[in-house]
């Protein structure tokens, strides 16, 4: 650790030590690199929404598989590395101590990058749990846990070795991140492996949905928000060269935010089959979130009181101001969208996409750029290579964000209203879902333009940072001096039980933060398991057949839920369009739940029996065959790839272990027999629809291919509550897409 001790004239023993800049530089470079990669993946999927052929008919770069690459790369690679960059830089300086262990820091760094690479390989291959922002399969989930523990040891070790008695507000936010992300990740990662890269969520249906969105919402809170708030509280005062506006407000901001945030998860499930009490709790606590969030935003902006002239001159501050403003906008809009009446229009639409990107592009993106522009010149003991280029980056990024967000608002409100509009005669005005898709195609094009501009800005930043590095000399260690932390009595009589006292007790502080975080989660999740009435069972709901299990797993592999929900909400506009609204009891065998969160295409929960098998066959080969104008990609490979029936037994065993009532031994023969019989029946239906061969000329009954399993699954969807109707067997036509 290289600590020297000197005794200055005043009699205070000072220790000389060095801050580690190498690890900060590594995370900074990774942030910039993965940021570009993640945004390019986003651009690829954005283009596919108006140009489906942009997938080049390759399954590995098709929308459903690349969308999680984009979200994971931006969240865990770009913001994740950005968070670590900020924490490793500021924690050392706020604690007046080098990081606890250089070795642990490098294990953390390379471990995290390896996880990102593993994600970038496995997700395009279709290895996914399907749970949003938690898609990575179980071996990678375990690796994340291990690396997070390594980070936590290094983090808390540094705090324990600090020379500054009190923990500054930024560190509180970091602490809440470290402990809460660990809890969220572990609870939501409970799966039953079926193979090395296939697992099933331990939870089913409604419970799985609640756990997932408790996780998903709080991943936004504790991965995208709290660490960045910590960085705001550290870097903004430094850049403005004045202290934070109100330390009192920062205390309220912190405790209010972490206490309330955790309750708000169910607002992602409004009007779904989730019990009403949980929805209501989620909604009202979401509205309350405005208070601490805006307290924090105002605290950030008011820190610049009297320093706005600096904002005009300093691009780093420009980025910071827009970031804090975007935080304010997103945290006002979030609670608004959580109000049920607003949510009934906004949910499943591009409005949510606009909201998310106000946060991602504005808050996370701009704050990351700001910190990168701050850190690079200091790491290389020089000045930023070009202020002008940074200013260009700023304005291009602002323009890009506007071109992204505004079209998505227009698209979201347009489709939300179109879905609900009735004619005077009582029928839906836009009964064909496709009309609501083609209507917003211009908005998709504008969004891609906005994303491209934003990426051009990032490229300018990379050039600027590279040239900055070349113009200076890297400083691997920064020398500093501080007096060691002396042991003092546990409580200060002058302050008693005060925050002052609490901030000197890192362990107790952490425990209280965990309690504040856990209360909301436990109150919402535990009753969902203990009270049977929360998920009323339906006698006619049966487990999926073996062929349907394989079809469902292909549906998961292809990421179909990125575009299709499986949740008909109890609105007349939805029951009219899709059929009976969805019941909690229909999902008791859904490991994982596949409700989705976006309707780029129509809901599929009642699609079973709606179209003939041949329609699905033709539709998957090329959706334009059956639905002219559709933006769904071709899934021709489903008609080419042989169905993997060898993997059936471990899948059925895994599902049985988590409660799906397949009889013992069913996987050793009977299941395969049932599978063949159902596949043969579908092949027969296809022949009725004048389809006798696969596209390459192979006879349908010669080989079972993946398309048969997908058809089996789609035809089963939502049919249990009306018995088991046989799929329609009429010849395929050019029926409109719902």
């Amino acid at each position: 650790m290289n600590v020297e001790t000197t005794t200055p004239a005043a009699g205070t023993r000072l220790e000389t030590f060095k801050y580690d800049n190498r690890i900060v530089r590594a995370f900074a470079i990774a942030t910039a690199f993965w940021g570009l990669v993640g945004m390019l993946a986003g651009l690829l999927v954005a283009v596919q929404l108006f140009l489906p052929d942009a997938n080049l008919n390759l399954q590995f770069i098709t929308f459903g598989r690349v969308r999680p690459v984009h979200t994971n790369a931006v969240i865990f690679a770009f913001v994740g590395n950005g968070m670590f960059m900020g924490i490793y830089y500021s924690l050392q300086r706020l604690c007046k101590a080098r990081m606890f262990s250089d070795t642990l820091g490098w294990i953390h760094f390379w471990g995290w990058q390896s996880i990102i690479v593993a994600a970038a390989i496995t997700l395009p291959l279709g290895f996914t749990t399907s749970k949003e922002y938690a898609e990575l399969e179980w071996p990678i989930k375990i690796a994340i846990t291990v690396i997070w523990v390594v980070f936590a040891i290094n983090f808390f070790g540094t705090i324990l070795r600090r020379r500054e008695k009190h923990l500054y507000v930024a560190i509180w936010f970091y602490i809440s991140t470290v402990v809460t992300v660990a809890v969220l990740h572990i609870v939501n990662s409970m799966v039953m492996p079926a193979s090395l890269f296939k697992s099933y969520s331990m939870y089913a249906g409604v419970q799985d949905a609640l756990v997932q969105w408790w996780y998903g919402h709080n991943a936004v809170a504790f991965f995208l928000t709290t660490p960045y708030l910590g960085m705001m509280y550290y870097f903004l005062p430094k850049a403005a060269d004045r202290p934070v506006f109100s330390y009192r407000l920062s205390i309220i901001h912190f405790w209010g935010l972490i206490f309330i945030y955790i309750w708000a998860g169910p607002h992602h499930l409004l009007y779904t089959a989730l019990p009403d009490w949980a929805q209501s709790l989620g909604m009202v606590f979401s509205v309350m979130l405005v208070a601490p969030s805006w307290g924090g935003m105002l605290n950030g902006l008011l820190t610049l009181r009297g320093a706005w002239d600096k904002v005009r001159q300093d691009p780093m501050l420009k980025f910071m101001v827009v970031a804090v403003t975007a935080y304010g906008m997103a945290t006002l809009e979030g609670p608004t969208l959580a109000i049920k009446s607003v949510n009934s229009i906004s949910h499943y639409t591009n409005w949510t996409v606009a909201h998310v990107h106000t946060g991602a592009l504005g808050w996370n993106g701009f704050l990351t750029f700001s910190v990168l522009y701050w850190i690079f010149p200091r790491l290389y003991n020089t000045k930023l290579w070009s202020i002008k280029l940074a200013n260009y980056h700023f304005w291009i990024a602002v323009l890009g964000m506007m071109f992204y967000v505004i079209p998505m608002y227009v698209a979201g409100v347009t489709e939300g209203l179109m879905w609900k509009e009735f004619r005077p005669d009582g029928f839906l005005r836009y009964g064909n879902f496709l009309e609501t898709v083609t209507q917003i195609l211009p908005m998709y094009r504008l969004r891609a333009l906005g994303g491209s501009l934003y990426i051009i800005g990032v490229v300018l930043m990379l050039v600027n940072l590279y040239r900055t590095a070349k113009s200076g000399q890297f400083v691997p260690d920064t020398e500093a001096q501080a007096a060691p932390l002396l042991k003092e009595p546990a409580a200060s009589p002058a302050f008693g039980w005060s925050h002052h006292w609490l901030e000197s007790k890192a362990g107790l502080f952490t425990i209280l933060a965990v309690i504040a975080v856990l209360i909301g989660g436990l109150i919402e999740i535990i009753p969902m398991y203990l009270i049977k009435e929360n998920v009323p069972t339906i006698a006619s709901v049966k487990p999926y057949t073996p062929l349907e299990v394989l079809g469902r797993d292909i549906y998961i592999r292809e990421g179909c839920l990125a575009c299709h929900s499986q949740m008909v909400r109890p609105f007349r506009s939805e029951t009219e369009r899709y059929g009976e609204y969805s019941k909690a009891g229909e999902y008791v065998y859904d490991h994982p739940f596949l409700w989705g969160s976006k309707r780029i295409g129509p809901d599929l929960h009642r699609v079973g029996g709606k179209y003939p098998d041949a329609w699905h066959f033709n539709h998957m080969e090329n959706p334009r065959n059956t639905s002219p104008g559709s933006i769904m990609p071709n899934y021709a490979w489903l008609l080419q790839q042989k169905l993997d029936t060898d993997s059936l037994p471990p899948r059925l065993i895994a599902l049985r272990r988590i409660g799906v009532p397949y009889p013992e031994g069913y996987e050793n023969g009977p299941a395969q027999k049932d599978l063949r019989a159902q596949a043969a029946k579908i092949a027969m239906n296809l022949k009725v629809g004048l389809i006798t061969t696969y596209p390459d000329g192979t006879a349908l009954d010669k080989e079972n291919r993946e398309i048969l399993a997908v058809i089996a699954y789609l035809q089963r969807l939502g049919t249990d509550i009306k018995g088991q109707p046989a799929p329609a067997t009429t010849a395929p036509g050019t029926a409109s897409n719902q």
Partner: protein, 69 residues
């Protein structure tokens, strides 16, 4: 009255009232707590990020006057 207002938001019923109570109790407690914090302590905490490294490191490196294109 509160229930009436909250119900207008979408049928929250008793959960709205309970949540509002928790909300006010929590924030009132927080407010009382922070109001009694002493100024010297607050000032010392606010200054922490500004005094954590040598002066040469705190100078602006992203203000005009640097290398230009």
């Amino acid at each position: 009255m509160e229930e009436k207002v909250l119900s207008g938001l979408g049928g929250v019923g008793i959960y709205g009232v309970i949540s509002i109570c928790i909300f006010f109790a929590f924030f009132t407690g927080m407010l009382i707590w922070v109001v009694f914090l002493r100024q010297p302590y607050l000032k010392s905490m606010q200054e922490l990020p500004l005094e954590d490294e040598p002066a040469s490191q705190t100078q602006s490196r992203t203000s005009p006057g640097n290398h230009e294109l």
